[in-house]
């Protein structure tokens, strides 16, 4: 089986799992958002890599070229990039508000403050 043929997918998966790892393993909220952004860019790669034709060119019609790379994924990913930055802006606004409410952007400290504010958990009735 030819390994090199699927190489682009494996690079995409590599970037995706590092983004996923940063997202779940790190406690700092801003770093989580960076991990999320990295995961999003790996998804862009996932869609655009299959659209490329070796020997083709960018999908702008000109007389000199006959083969074009597929423009359909480009359209989808253009929308996805803009939606991604909109999500990032909202996420950062939330982080700023959390910082003001709790005084910290570390997940552990925030959980501690929440749990000490709620008091000890109620006794389980059997």
């Amino acid at each position: 089986m030819n390994v090199a043929v699927h190489l682009s997918y494996w690079i995409t998966i590599l970037i995706a799992i590092s983004g996923l790892y940063i997202l779940i393993a790190r406690g700092n909220l801003v770093k989580k958002l960076v991990g999320l952004a990295i995961f999003q860019t790996s998804v862009y790669l996932l869609y655009i890599a299959p659209g490329k034709l070796i020997g083709g060119t960018a999908p702008i019609v000109a007389d000199k070229f006959a083969v074009y790379s597929n423009p359909l994924p480009h359209v989808l990913i253009l929308t996805a990039i803009v939606v991604g930055v909109a999500t990032l802006a909202l996420g950062l606004a939330l982080v700023v508000r959390i910082k003001e409410a709790y005084g910290s952007i570390e997940e552990d400290e925030i959980l501690e403050q929440d749990q000490s504010a709620l008091g000890p958990p109620p006794e389980k009735k059997k």
Binding site: A58, I60, L78, I81, V82, A86, A89, L92, A93, V96, K99, E100
Partner: protein, 142 residues
């Protein structure tokens, strides 16, 4: 930062270039890479650059908060308005073929106006977000 002469001179050169480049990307989007989104983001970045070098109050004088908020909504309204123009002139919603005498001409007009709407909306949102983050004075912030 406006006390540093080098930064001020470079900023004045670059901001003018950035705004012109944003307009170029916007209008040349039909023939090369580009279009509304890229142009909107570059415009917002140019004004943010101005705010970083010359201070937030100076930037607020050039592009006041009200203008940024209006831009956010005006872009979407313009886009939807083009759609309604298609309805009024007898075609479907967002139909460009009826906007001009010749269908291809109508396409050009429709695409021009909606890309403008996209530019206004994206630039407004990015700029307003920057204003809200940067204008928030936290007392103990760095």
């Amino acid at each position: 930062m406006k006390d540093y002469l080098v930064l001020r001179v470079i900023a004045k050169l670059m901001i003018a270039f950035m705004v012109v480049f944003a307009l170029y990307v916007q209008f040349h989007g039909d023939f090369g890479p580009g279009g509304g989104f890229q142009a909107g983001v570059i415009t917002a970045a140019a004004i943010v650059f101005y705010a970083i070098i010359f201070g937030l109050p100076a930037a607020r004088k050039v592009v006041p908060d009200r203008l940024a908020e209006t831009m956010v909504a005006a872009g979407v309204l313009l886009y939807a308005g083009v759609g309604f123009a298609g309805l009024v002139l007898g075609g479907n919603y967002l139909d460009y073929f009826v906007l001009g005498a010749d269908p291809v001409d109508g396409q050009h007009r429709g695409i021009f106006w909606i890309e403008l709407g996209v530019l206004i909306s994206v630039a407004g949102v990015m700029l307003k977000t920057f204003y809200m983050f940067a204008g928030r004075d936290d007392g103990g912030g760095k």
